[in-house]
Symmetry: C2
Subunit: 338 residues, 2 copies
């Protein structure tokens, strides 16, 4: 597979121009392009340019409004709703974030619910700014049915990612971002694209039989929750928080309403932010740093997100490798390099 190396600026302009050429206004194009840029910058290629054709498909079919203007409403002083207006999630997230941070700092805890949005990105991008603002943050979202509840063999839960961020003062925040599936859908897409075999226990094929073939999972098969019934419980909790609690569509409802254009379905996102300085004591930061230090003193351990931070330090120098076929596809869709 031929790879073309692009600068970070080129990645961003490629994404922006492609989105502008397909019906996004500048605000929406910039917000989505920034999300794509952050994924590529941190080596998270499964959530970067690879998803751009899906964004474009959703714009072209009319499912997603590229001119959406999100509206932020305070349901209570510590509960915000951001109506994304049928647009992509990034602009909605940017619109609500300042109010979420302020509410969490004022009241100690706050929730932001994103509704009527189309989410297609990595969640760590969304909790990291909250952690940088000094808040603990939890975010989750449901998606299309991709895996069965424990004991079942029909897709029902989405891969349902959950991200958690923790502030570390002058150091980069600790952020993990995990699908409730044994493997993220994006990683399965990458494995299928690259022809890599998956570990046992990742999924079932269309007949409900275990498989290690990524394409068999994509072609009517399904992922399995990680860790058996416990991961299934977490996937269910995410459905309830990111759909039931905020009045948005469960994965099974999103699938029933989706036009199958390949872009993200309509759905919601649940974000919780908590100020650790309120209950944690004056020394909460040092206290928690002592925890990370003790953990990292154990051979073989590392903090989640360390690989992303390492990539982030390198990619401004090394550039971003982009498969030539993907680059050509994006150019065909109207994307332009600087």
């Amino acid at each position: 597979m031929t790879q073309i190396t692009l600068t970070l600026d080129a990645v961003e302009q490629l994404a922006q121009s492609c989105l502008l050429a397909n019906g996004c206004n500048a605000d929406n194009a910039n917000a989505v392009a920034d999300t794509i840029l952050q994924a590529e910058r941190d080596g998270c290629h499964s959530h970067g340019l690879l998803r751009l054709p899906g964004y474009v498909a959703a714009l072209k079919s009319g499912k997603v409004d590229g001119h959406a203007c999100p509206e932020v409403t305070a349901v209570s002083p510590s509960m915000l709703r951001v109506d994304a207006g049928g647009g992509f999630a990034p602009l909605a997230l940017n619109s609500g974030r300042p109010a979420l941070i302020e509410a969490a700092k004022t009241h100690g805890v706050a929730i932001m619910a994103i509704t009527r949005s189309h989410h297609f990105a990595a969640l760590w991008v969304e909790v990291e700014p909250l952690a940088r603002a000094g808040l603990a943050a939890l975010a989750c979202t449901a998606y299309m049915p991709a895996m069965p509840p424990a004991g079942g063999n029909k897709p029902f839960f989405g891969t349902n990612p959950m991200a958690f961020g923790w502030p570390r003062g002058t150091q980069p925040p600790m952020v993990f971002d995990m699908a409730a599936a044994a493997m993220a859908k994006g990683e399965v897409l990458v494995a299928a694209r690259d022809g890599h075999e998956l570990p046992a226990g990742t999924g079932l094929d269309r007949d409900g039989k275990p498989t290690t073939d990524a394409q068999a999972i994509i072609d009517g098969g399904m992922l399995l929750p990680f860790g058996g019934y416990k991961g299934s419980g977490i996937a269910m909790m995410i459905e309830l928080l990111a759909a039931g609690l905020i009045g948005e569509r469960f994965s099974f409802e999103a699938a029933a309403h989706d036009n199958k254009d390949g872009g993200p379905p309509r759905g919601g996102e649940f974000i919780l932010a908590i100020d650790p300085s309120r209950l944690g004591g004056d020394d909460w930061l040092a206290h928690c740093e002592s925890f990370f230090a003790a953990m990292l003193a154990i051979d073989g351990t590392r903090l989640p997100g360390d690989r992303r931070h390492a990539n982030r330090a390198q990619t401004p120098k090394t550039g971003i490798p982009v498969p030539e076929a993907l680059l050509n596809k994006i150019k065909d869709l109207g994307g332009q390099l600087p």
Copy 2:
């Protein structure tokens, strides 16, 4: 193993009298005995009378104050701290619960932090009343080091249970309660007691080698997080919420300070309650029931907690089986049957 069948009343009186005989006042004895009763009633024997000798040891050594009088403080209108005063957790939970429910109903979301407590019980007992009050609830607590972070081979995280409850109107709430370990410590204790072999992947022995022998895990070995690095991330999140965020001891700190009397160490608990009626729309309950119905329509699935509800319906008729050796031990400690 000879089992003696006790009525629910007998279980409660046995626990109460034993706790009263060992330094608890009536309020504390009643609260702990009720927690033990609920565990036995629901068939959760690992968290019932089996733990009573540990409660007694902690009282006898002076580690736990059986006369503790918890203090509830509002840190903000939506953040409560309950200082358990060095007592067992159940009375602290009972003391703070009404204010937590009121705060969550008033503001949509609220947090209750329990500090200076000794926690030795199942978490589902603690989220179920919140779900019965119409709230979504998440609770977690850290404990003694029992399992390594992903990649490590020294105990560092507690088994760190997390429970989640969801209100279902006139039906019993959906409640799951899972350790972040591949198996709950209580189940390992039961397996060791009963001589049952554990599934592969449950833990490592004292040399860091995989084992299926429950006793080898107890004797200086360790449990593994469920689902590999994802379960490890969840165990870490629980440490940060139930210790860092609320200014209490991480598992590794609890171990350093504990007197090793066999009772629960000092620690904290994090409880989050959210009112789904605030963001979920007028039809939130019916909407969520349609989700459960669609899930249960898939062959082989069931709701977490169903087994407990089934046991709860039966045990008033069948009584509670208690191993004779355990019953005699409790009697030796001052427990009395009616």
